[in-house]
Symmetry: C2
Subunit: 385 residues, 2 copies
Amino acid sequence: MQDARQIGYRAGRTSAMNVNGKPMRTIWATEDQVEILDQTQLPHELVIRRLRTADDVARAIRTMQVRGAPLIGAAAAYGVWLTARADPSDGALEAAARALLATRPTAVNLRWALEAMTAALRPVPPPQRAGAARAAADRIADQDVAVNRAIGEHALALLRALEPRRPRGGGAPPRLNVLTHCNAGWLATVDRGTALAGVYAAHDAGLPIHVWVDETRPRNQGAALTAWELGQQGVPHTVIVDNAGGHLMQRGEVDVVVVGTDRTTAAGDVVNKVGTYLKALAARDCGVPFYVAAPSSSIDWRIDDGRDIEIEERAATEVTEIAGRAEGGARVTVRLTPAGAPAANPAFDLTPARLVTGLITERGVAPASRQGLAALFPTEGARRS
Amino acid sequence: MQDARQIGYRAGRTSAMNVNGKPMRTIWATEDQVEILDQTQLPHELVIRRLRTADDVARAIRTMQVRGAPLIGAAAAYGVWLTARADPSDGALEAAARALLATRPTAVNLRWALEAMTAALRPVPPPQRAGAARAAADRIADQDVAVNRAIGEHALALLRALEPRRPRGGGAPPRLNVLTHCNAGWLATVDRGTALAGVYAAHDAGLPIHVWVDETRPRNQGAALTAWELGQQGVPHTVIVDNAGGHLMQRGEVDVVVVGTDRTTAAGDVVNKVGTYLKALAARDCGVPFYVAAPSSSIDWRIDDGRDIEIEERAATEVTEIAGRAEGGARVTVRLTPAGAPAANPAFDLTPARLVTGLITERGVAPASRQGLAALFPTEGARRS
């Protein structure tokens, strides 16, 4: 519990996620700095970090204190604002954008947000750029919230069409079982989430929703972040290891899979957290619908084939070591492998469009295809080639 | 390093796995007790446990100090011997067999070994049962080693037929990339392993073999056990999270998948460590051959359809907590999830026969079908119905 958390939400906005019962965003700006919830400390501690320069923002993205494709887009936008306050010259802004873009190679929202900031600031005389940058970054953050709310409404319609069923071997009441991978929730965005926006909308609407939360090794965004934020909102959920989802689908215990995306191609291929592809295969094999919550900011209109997207390779220590809370409350990192065992750590994988039932965008649900996306986004779809 | 480990291997046997350069089995009997390598302490410590009663053996199986379908079969056989030493009456032996059978519900080797012990002891007058039981248990252990050696030879022929290839983006020499899930190695058996028997045979034969080691949450048998035993034998390997295998297959970095099995049906369905099904789906989607090393002791001739097999549900704490080695060397358990987060923990899943390229048995490689298995095992295949 920290007082700062109430700064996170300004009155008059659309309703927000709660932390300890109070509304809060994942990122917000004060007069002269940006504040974030440090996601590397969750679920064990609620820590607010203050970022004063674009370098601070780049470090927060690189170390995954902020993560999630939509949120790193918004964070980068605020990073440009921090630079514009200190040095609004073209050179300084370009250098900041370059440094921010280099933090994570896979998610396209980062490029999208930085291009939006550049477009907004280029015509503005340097002395007015700080104000313009703040307004533009706030716009990007607010737009993320509005987009996620729209995605949530479209996802709610899909969930309403499913039939709740009884859990196996028990007299428990029927429920709707959603499986999700990684964290594409409130914490991956400015507010509401993408994949979880529909879950929250359904929960708010009184649907008997229950979420299977993939742990999501190696960084455990599911076990640490998704479980935490679902718990904060009171949404019933169960954590499972990444290996278990296929078995649950075989047994009829998953009604729908909904995940986020770090980059969606113009033809509907989805690059998302490593392991997503395996769940998409199991969903196809078991006849379970597989949806991807894809805000248009995640769509890379310049690429058709997901195999052309660079997959970030992260540190081996993310595989060989893990941090958690020891008895007594201390955060402890332990090694899981024999000393010196080599490890590889690709962070994303490719789910081909053929495995995706639909892309849930802010404009509605599109088939995962060039035609499907172009029908909802005619301008972007045409601009590309 | 413990002196006891050299007791583990008797001269004159087929060549064994090495621990710190010395041959060692995973289980062995002295005059009056059974000794095991405590697998819950690996890879961080080499601890030998002494088991004096069938209850000790049952506890070791239940807590997974010994695990792996073939090894728990052999351990149960030695448990019957310990009972026969103390009380060779029918009642005592039946009670011991019942208690041992109840330790783990999924693997069929346990039932197979206990039935073999019962068949061997029933005609023997009680005063001679201790000696007969010891001989029968030794036979089961030795037979496991011989079976695994034969599986290794058949697997070697399959591996020889593959073309080694260069790793992506490097001038490294070509290698043969095997992906395996869980631990179906030396540690899962009395010696040599099932899935890894072929890897060891290939390594001994000078093939440039490299193993992708699935971590295998929640109990990390891959990261803790497979990586350790491959390291002990000097086989090149890389640990990956369970989520990463599909991506590696998409990128052409896996030439073959080889896993073990806890129970194989007469029609070739495979129940193995949870997550195996996901790898089989990815292998099928990427055109990678998917083999299951299946000693005949793992085949349940009474069942055709894998959906009829009980899947063990283990403790939620295996998901929410993990143990590892902290800086300084202490073994520490840490919590990964928010306090009170619910978790589910199915331990196995079903890989349908249609996804299995072949079953590597001690008699050769069979298509995963009733006909394929019956051709290699005509007696067992016919006896069933």
